[in-house]
Homo-oligomer: 121 residues x 2
């Protein structure tokens, strides 16, 4: 039994890691590249889908709605659609999403400091 490589238990350990490490828990919810960026742009108030698209030109429409759906499913943002004929859909932060603002704020602040100090690779 001692010959079993420890790496074969990685899968089972993932559940353990999720329960033990709070940062792992967070990464499961906002771990994607785009999610924190979306949340950052929503921090100044609700935005329409098309406004988000223009605010983040680097994201494709597919990625944008995909992550918006996931953020909604995780109760971090709220989607409101008015049944008018040119569709009018707005996204805003939920209370849990607002709770994430310290994280986003801390990121933004660190970015400015890091840039000032010129720590570039």
């Amino acid at each position: 039994m001692t010959a079993i490589k420890e790496s074969s238990t990685i899968q089972e350990n993932k559940q353990y890691a999720l329960e033990k490490c709070p940062v792992t828990y967070v990464m499961e919810k906002i771990g994607g590249y785009w999610k924190p960026i979306i949340l950052y742009h929503l921090s100044n108030g609700s935005l329409r889908y098309s406004e988000l698209k223009r605010a983040i030109p680097a994201v494709s429409e597919k990625m944008l709605i995909q992550h918006l759906k996931q953020l909604e499913a995780d109760n971090l943002i709220i989607r409101e659609a008015k049944p008018v004929v040119p569709p009018f859909v707005t996204y805003s932060l939920s209370s849990a999403g607002i709770g994430l603002m310290p994280v986003i704020q801390a990121m933004a602040e660190w970015a400015f400091i890091d840039k000032e100090n010129g720590f570039s690779s």
Copy 2:
């Protein structure tokens, strides 16, 4: 010329996004799934490579050193190797890495609150 789809400009817009959005800047540095987790485990002090491995059983050795190298290249952690024969290598936070602790701390705090409120999908 009006027939060109706007999505074809996504690549060029990425550079723009990097300069404009601070959160994008941060995600380029600690955007990987494992990087914040590694930084979290180093927040209590320096650790040897093997200690990190045992602290994060869910990560494979390949991922661990890969991200450690990247974090070192980005000046977020410091690698110190003693030239002894059973290798003795420790990793610790740099000053820039310590500057990231508010982000990691905010993540950890939010995780606890979110779990208490039972916001699970």
